[in-house]
Subunit: 213 residues, 2 copies
């Protein structure tokens, strides 16, 4: 297959939308989830994010990148104001509602109400979970790092509560998120289910790896 070559100069001279689609899809498949928060005034908010990443297991930390654009501002402010947020995996049955949360609703309008997704409060968490999500995670804000190179903000949070379908948690700790029907996304708007190729043994020099399924 012939390859198209795109260099720095071509990237810089693209129109904005084209570059956004290109670079967002280039970085590979992404984690995608719904972030539930509550404002100081008590308004619930729900927004789809694909900038979540694993930062470390001990302590159990995830990072999240925020851009300075309007639909993300409510979520960021609520996390900083209250210290709580939830991550809720998305399955094919709620993908259209999940995507709809990215619309620029007026502040104070709840995306739960607008999309028909159900808010759920559990334990001591003031941030709402999404009832329809199979995998739900309660997060506590730990640290904010401002990334000056492109004016983005890295929010680091610690995993405080995990709710996962009983039959998706394996004895070795692995959560089978494919069995939970969690989806992945690429670019800004493409959603995908997955099909497992294999789980592979810990690699060692001069030893063949094998399936651990």
């Amino acid at each position: 297959m012939e390859k198209t070559i795109i260099d720095s100069e071509a990237i810089r001279s693209m129109n904005k939308n084209e570059r956004v689609h290109l670079i967002n899809s280039l970085c590979g498949f992404k984690s995608v989830s719904l972030i539930g928060t509550q404002s100081k005034e008590g308004n619930s908010n729900l927004a789809i994010f694909s900038s979540l990443f694993h930062l470390g297991a001990n302590p159990a930390l995830f990072g999240l990148i925020f851009r300075p654009s309007p639909p993300e501002r409510d979520t960021l402010r609520n996390i900083l104001d209250t210290g709580f947020y939830t991550l809720n995996h998305i399955h094919p049955g709620i993908v259209y509602q999940a995507h709809q949360t990215s619309a620029r609703y007026a502040p104070g309008v709840s995306e739960f109400k607008e999309t028909g997704l159900t808010e759920e409060y559990k334990d001591y968490f003031i941030a709402p979970y999404v009832t329809e999500s199979a995998v739900q995670i309660g997060m506590i804000f730990k640290e904010r790092i401002d990334i000056s190179i492109n004016n983005t903000i890295l929010i680091i949070g610690e995993v405080a509560q995990i709710y996962v379908p009983e039959n998706c948690l394996l004895p070795d700790g692995f959560i089978d998120i494919e069995k939970a029907e969690s989806i992945t996304c690429s670019g800004l708007d493409s959603y995908h289910t997955t099909q497992r190729i294999d789980r592979l043994s810990y690699a060692k020099p001069d030893l063949p790896i094998h399936s651990i399924l």
Copy 2:
């Protein structure tokens, strides 16, 4: 389906391996790619990473998290020493070789040689690409941010060269990485192909979203 509940206390008191599997799989599907580098001494290195994330499109920046563990040290040092690295998407035909690069080979041993993957040098880049990869990206180091909360390192790089199969680049800039057979991973060792559900239109309040396929 009944849910298993795991709280902070349970996470902290788990054994290390169980916690690593749990937290790595909890954060959703991840981008997975092979990072090619060259040392100051001219040794090539190849390592699989699932900590790549999109940081911004203008400038085109990706972030990459490094833990202070041995197999990742060569890659990090080479990036800091030379300023160049490549990202190479993984397809099902090379997944076993890709996983094998995570073995702790002695410094100076090239994972290209050990796994049979082919190194390729293009343009002015001193970092090697993987010939077998359909999507290849040349990256230039921009900034290092030390994350003190868990002693990880965020490496920010700018996309400098893109090689993508002609038929996978769409007119709107979107790269169809599923068509390129790029895979995703979950946890430390589970690899997956994808099946597109849909591409959805830009969401607006009070307007139904629709498929843009």
